[in-house]
Assembly symmetry: C2
Homo-oligomer: 310 residues x 2
Amino acid sequence: MVQIGDLGERQLIDDFRTFIRPEGRVGPGDDAAVIGKDVVVTTDIVTFDRHFPIGMSFEQFGWYAAAVNFSDLAAMGARPMGFTAALALPPTLDSQNAYDIMSGIDQCAEFCGTGIVGGDTKTGPGIVAGTAIGSMDGRAPMLRSGARPGDIVAVTGPLGGPAAGYAAIENGLDYPEATETLFMPVPRVAEGVALAESGIVSSCIDLSDGLGTALNTICKASNVGIDVEFSFLQHETFVDEISEKTGISLEKLLIGWGGEYELMFTADPNRLKKLYDSEIEFFIIGMVNDSGKAELIKDGKRSTIDYGEY
Amino acid sequence: MVQIGDLGERQLIDDFRTFIRPEGRVGPGDDAAVIGKDVVVTTDIVTFDRHFPIGMSFEQFGWYAAAVNFSDLAAMGARPMGFTAALALPPTLDSQNAYDIMSGIDQCAEFCGTGIVGGDTKTGPGIVAGTAIGSMDGRAPMLRSGARPGDIVAVTGPLGGPAAGYAAIENGLDYPEATETLFMPVPRVAEGVALAESGIVSSCIDLSDGLGTALNTICKASNVGIDVEFSFLQHETFVDEISEKTGISLEKLLIGWGGEYELMFTADPNRLKKLYDSEIEFFIIGMVNDSGKAELIKDGKRSTIDYGEY
């Protein structure tokens, strides 16, 4: 007998993937599934155990549980249509805390232009299994597999906030602005819709597993390489300060970490005007090539970018 | 502080309902939510703790986790488009058992004409939070609120199987046919679609909480009463035998129990030909009236039908 604890969660998810069929055009391996004509669906579990850092409120935990799902919709370019929340909560939980979780989910759903449309509640250790449903409204879904050599690589915002926030907590530093980005990530729903609408985006992914993992995932799915220019990466304002105080390198905070919910995308460099016209914020961080690997260029030197540890 | 364990699960679900908004035409209180033009979504948690009776296999547990969700789609008349499975499993679980759960989900989804389109796996006590997504394909969704005095009341199959199966297990009786109906309920998806398509069904609900609860729920939602004729109820073949051997009354097994996944519906008596033409199986069990209560008529005597205990 092989216990699933020995197998590891990643392995189990990979093994389970054989059960997942693309009912529509898009199957496993992307942020969400496209089913039917243009319904998009994704599900993610968050737990008290693993996603409830010290200092986080129950409301923020609820927000977070919803945000991770809406971010997956955003990465496909889907417009949220609804959210279902399945909760398994300890019987000893203060009912006010339970309402706060629901309120946090509700607020995040409202921010994303939709609401909670269904749910279930049972006894459990503190688990929220959220499912977000969206519509492509006729747009083509953005996949991970479309990047082409010559495309630019860009992200929708400054990086390192959640990693720095976590490092601050771990080191007893008081940076509420940093911990806020960790506790209440902003799903880039409007950005995702605008990117898909532009028609010039060749691939897209969210940074939930960190920039390093995102880059390697796109390289593998699209069979390309990517060069990232370190000096192009925009830092959240407090990231440099926290890096200095904790001794954790900027590379680690900006690239090697997850819990980040910006979108990373590749796009046709000759039609960027379409994106500038859409008025969404984005920063070019590198270029797609045919090297087959993700590399960082810093002070003129090249190094391999690994999958993150998240 | 009020612990949610003291509040009770029903109360918590009722309280949480205030967060649920009808994004489309149908909101909380029905088996599933209709969002957008005709997407239907529902989510239900099953746990090792509460939904894994002795003798059930891991495959059957997976089937059950999917079936309860597809049954909710069926009650609205939706055609399944996809299923997402969020699993929280003990690290000590044999990986073969984990695959068996996924395989059971997969088989049920396939039976319902669709497949698993996404999922997530984390560590936990043994929880499957399933979400089923379906489409109305332009049909009007069947609600709980449309029953009218004069309508017939019908169910899609014989009753009492799961209750008798559970009673058999509890009493150490060997009735594999009965336990099968408990372990592997058949979601009435084709029947639900046909009922919605007929255009003559005024309300519908699944019997997951038992016939008594279903009757009372329809009475309340539709502001009507219902008379059920006891002799009209069809019994699964082994139900009478198990009732006799265990001493549990037929009323209890047929009406007072849940875990039953037939559909109950009300329909216009003047256009029943539409239903007979559709070739789905159904049994008329009573009539809708304006008494405001659900009553049983047995040997000419009337008694009140209560909500079930499930």
